[in-house]
């Protein structure tokens, strides 16, 4: 797999890549790699087709900073909750409706840690990782605007 960026270590694995990935295979490999985990949470983001209006989503990113920034977010999650592991995979480039954009996986002894870490990672990836989405629709093209509720979600952490 010709991943653009890959980082491991105690904060978990981070991959940023243009290639499609198999969510199920990644989730299975992640779960199999855990020791002492009783709970595994995964989140998968999918390109919504919005009833056929969406033709393509283009995801731009900031090579280098993307990996560094996700690494910081992952390290923060690893410091805040008792995890046995975490994983982030995020695509960039052109994606079609129904394609998997990204996934987060967390594992812990207890479910509360795994859920909290996964939600934290998602909230920060949404608003603090340098990705920008442009949609090409039948009705026109445009950049996806950040949602006020995504910014507000950060205040709970």
């Amino acid at each position: 797999m010709a991943a653009d960026g890959q980082a491991g270590g105690t904060a978990g694995r981070v991959r940023v890549q243009p290639e499609a990935f198999d969510f199920a295979a990644e989730a299975a490999a992640f779960a199999a790699a855990q020791t002492g985990a009783g709970a595994v949470v995964t989140f998968t983001g999918i390109v919504r087709d919005d009833g056929g209006d969406l033709l393509e989503m283009q995801i731009e990113h900031y090579p280098g900073m993307t990996e560094a920034q996700i690494g910081r977010i992952a390290a923060e999650a690893a410091a805040r909750w008792r995890l046995t592991g975490l994983s982030v995979i995020h695509r960039h480039g052109a994606l079609g409706p129904g394609e998997t954009i990204m996934m987060v996986a967390t594992a812990a002894r207890h479910r509360a840690d795994a859920f909290a870490a996964a939600e934290f990672l998602m909230d920060y990836l949404k608003s603090r990782a340098p990705f920008w989405k442009k949609e090409r629709r039948r009705s026109g093209a445009g950049w996806v605007a950040a949602r006020a509720e995504d910014e507000a979600a950060l205040s709970r952490w």
Binding site: G45, E60, Y62, G64, M65, A68, Q69, H90, I101, M102, M122, L125, K126, S127, R128, A129, P130, F131, W132, K133, K134, W143, V144, A145, A146, E151
Partner: protein, 83 residues
């Protein structure tokens, strides 16, 4: 000071380029923006409303008052939409 300035998403589209090298003595991001605005109509459009912009200095998020001493790369972009 020679700075690598990078633009993403609609900031890149308005400026008309993904990056440029600038020679500047601006001590902060805000003062660098004042210089960049004067470069072209595209730059002026990109920096018309700085509340719509986010900044990174050397690939870490920063504020408009961030100092530029020692910096090598500054990036401007809209609020991020990852996930």
């Amino acid at each position: 000071m020679r700075l690598d300035v990078r633009y993403f998403a609609w900031v890149r589209e308005r400026v008309g380029a993904p990056r440029e090298t600038v020679e500047t003595g601006a001590p902060t991001v805000a003062l660098l923006i004042d210089e960049l605005r004067a470069r072209s109509e595209g730059h002026a459009a990109a920096f018309a409303d700085t509340t719509a912009l986010r900044v990174a200095v050397d690939q870490a998020l920063a504020g408009f008052d961030a100092p530029l001493a020692g910096a090598r790369e500054v990036a401007f972009f809209p609020p991020m939409t990852g996930g």
